[in-house]
Symmetry: C2
Subunit: 180 residues, 2 copies
């Protein structure tokens, strides 16, 4: 059945090749034999890190997100450079943004944040052991960090106070894996 679902690229054009995203518009052959167009945002992907303390507090950041014109709660995360290893990117972003240096990371899962029009993959990790280090923000980054009890974080997801998909996905994968 899967063979009959596949759309094949006929040709395409690059609409925009920017700093963070590249936008393409492809003509595709659909399984029903017709042609259609697909708008695709290409992105190098991201890495995000769930950090939970021994007394079950979750490290969350508050950061202004321009597309929503809003300060939101989310776990530490950053973009990958082209071809960069997600594990290394996660280690780096975790230290730069939170001032914690992880000894190792456990791979939780990878997510497709918005499968209809973006090729982005966000690689999700759990920080295993970490020691205090120093933050090192990008020059236009303004980030506050908080350690919030896990039970409160679950309430914040349920009430819609936390809306960031990678944050909810990382936490739920952790809870499923460790049967909490």
């Amino acid at each position: 059945m899967i063979m009959n679902m596949i759309e094949k690229k006929i040709d395409g054009e690059v609409i925009y090749d920017g700093k963070i995203i590249r936008v393409e518009r492809d003509r595709v052959l659909c399984p029903n034999g017709r042609n259609s167009y697909r708008e695709v945002v290409r992105h190098n992907g991201g890495a995000a890190i769930l950090c939970i303390t021994k007394d079950d507090r979750v490290l969350l950041e508050r950061q202004f997100r321009y597309p929503y014109n809003e300060v939101i709660y989310e776990i530490p995360a950053g973009k990958l450079e082209k071809g960069e290893d997600p594990y290394q990117a996660a280690l780096r972003e975790f230290e730069e943004e939170t001032g914690n240096k992880a000894e190792s990371l456990e791979h939780l899962t990878d997510i497709y944040p918005t499968c209809g029009y973006s090729s982005e993959v966000i690689y999700l990790y759990l920080a295993k052991d970490y020691v205090k280090s120093n933050t090192n923000f990008d020059e236009d980054e303004v980030i506050e960090t908080e350690y919030i009890p896990l039970s409160d974080v679950l309430d914040m997801i349920n009430s819609g106070k936390i809306k960031d998909a990678k944050t909810i996905c990382a936490l739920s994968t952790y809870l499923i894996r460790y049967k909490k």
Copy 2:
């Protein structure tokens, strides 16, 4: 503190105004007084529906997603028309894609799938009571539906077989709310 996080738009240009997405590039004033640029994908948003049977099976779809060149598992979902009420869109998509007509929907939460560069909001609902109706696919839509036991779905999230963010977020909000 929040005041010091906000980025203000100075001016901007529309890079691409397509069928599904609109791409903008804005010049912004950052809290540190410098100017920077923000690439933003504007999108009307989406609505997605979690449907769980009385014997705890989850309705999942298998659909080819062009940006990943892959058939993926996900809950039923669709795009909003401009200005459309997400609740009405969810009711419509649920019926069209699955052949089930919901009597009512419970709002689970709203998610920001990829907060760095997209303004998309995905509105997540739980189908409450539903009766058999008829599917009505868009002409280039090829969708298969399956009812998969909840425990298997959790395994599929843990093992990375389910990667779709809205699916994981809808299910985890449901599990948090109903303490399962």
